[in-house]
Amino acid sequence: MKVRDMVQKLGLKVFSGESGLENEIAGGYVSDLLSDVMGNTDENFVWMTLQTHKNIMAVASLKELAAIIIVKGLQPDEDTIAHSNEEGVPLLGTDMETFEISGKLYGFLNN
C-alpha cells in the first residue's frame, strides 16, 4: 500500500510533504520516544505519535520512514511542516487516538 492509499482509506489530513505520498508502506510503529523510533523502526514504516515538534521530521528523514501520523487532532509546529516539505516525508493527521488509528492501519496492512 502507498501512503496515498492509506490517506484515503483512513481519511487522514495531509499537512505537508505531498511529494512523498507515493512512498510504499512496509509497516507501522507507535511511540512518542524518539530514541525508541530511531532504534526500532525500519525504512518505509509509518510512525504514529503525539509529538509535533521539528525533531520528529529529523528522525523520519534519517530513518527514511514512509510518513508520520500525528494523532488526536494535534497540530504540527510550523517548522515541522517546513521540514516535512523539504524532506518530502508526508506529515499526516487524524482526530483518532493512537489505539484506534494503529488498529485500523494494522488491519489494512494485514488483510
Binding site: 530514541s35 532504534g39 521539528k54 525533531n55 529529523a58 517548522d79
Partner: protein, 137 residues
C-alpha cells in the same frame, strides 16, 4: 576524508543536522544502506546527547576505505558513572526534554548496539568524548 560539524547545547531545532550531512556523504560514497543506517542511528544519538546534556560540541568524522571514525567531543558536565549511563532507561534529562520524547535513556544503548567499536571518556565538570568506529565492509 574529514568533516567537522558544530553542535550547540540546548538547541534542539538544529539537532540532527550533522547526522543528516554524514548520511548524504555516505550515500554518495555508495556505502551499504544497512551500514549507513547503523551509523546514522549512533551519530544522531550522540548529537542529541550534546544538545540535551552538554554546552557545546564538535563532531569530527574521518572516512577511509575501511571504516568511518566519528569523534564527538563536548564541553559540558561530563558523565560521572559511565557504566550507569550505559544502562537502558537511565537518564538525567530534564522534564522539558523528556516531554519532547528525548530522555528515554536509550541513546547510549542505541549507540553501543549500532557501532563496531565505542570508546567513551569523560571528565566530570569538563566534558565528554565519544569515539565510534564502524567498518564499511
Amino acid at each position: 576524508m574529514e568533516f567537522r560539524y558544530e553542535v550547540e547545547g540546548g538547541n534542539f531545532s538544529r539537532a540532527g543536522h550533522a547526522s543528516s550531512a554524514v548520511k548524504k556523504i555516505l550515500k554518495q560514497l555508495n556505502v551499504d544502506n544497512r551500514i549507513i543506517k547503523r551509523i546514522v542511528v549512533a551519530l544522531y544519538e550522540g548529537e542529541v546527547n550534546v544538545v540535551a546534556h552538554a554546552h557545546k560540541g564538535n563532531i569530527l568524522v574521518y572516512i577511509d576505505e575501511q571504516k568511518i571514525n566519528i569523534k564527538i567531543e563536548d564541553e559540558g558536565p561530563g558523565i560521572p558513572d559511565i557504566d550507569l549511563a550505559m544502562q537502558a532507561g537511565y537518564s538525567t534529562a530534564s522534564a522539558a526534554v523528556r516531554e519532547m520524547g528525548f530522555g528515554a535513556g536509550m541513546g547510549l544503548p542505541n549507540i553501543k548496539k549500532n557501532t563496531d567499536e565505542l570508546k567513551i571518556a569523560s571528565d566530570v565538570g569538563k566534558g565528554t568524548t565519544l569515539e565510534m568506529i564502524t567498518y564499511l565492509q
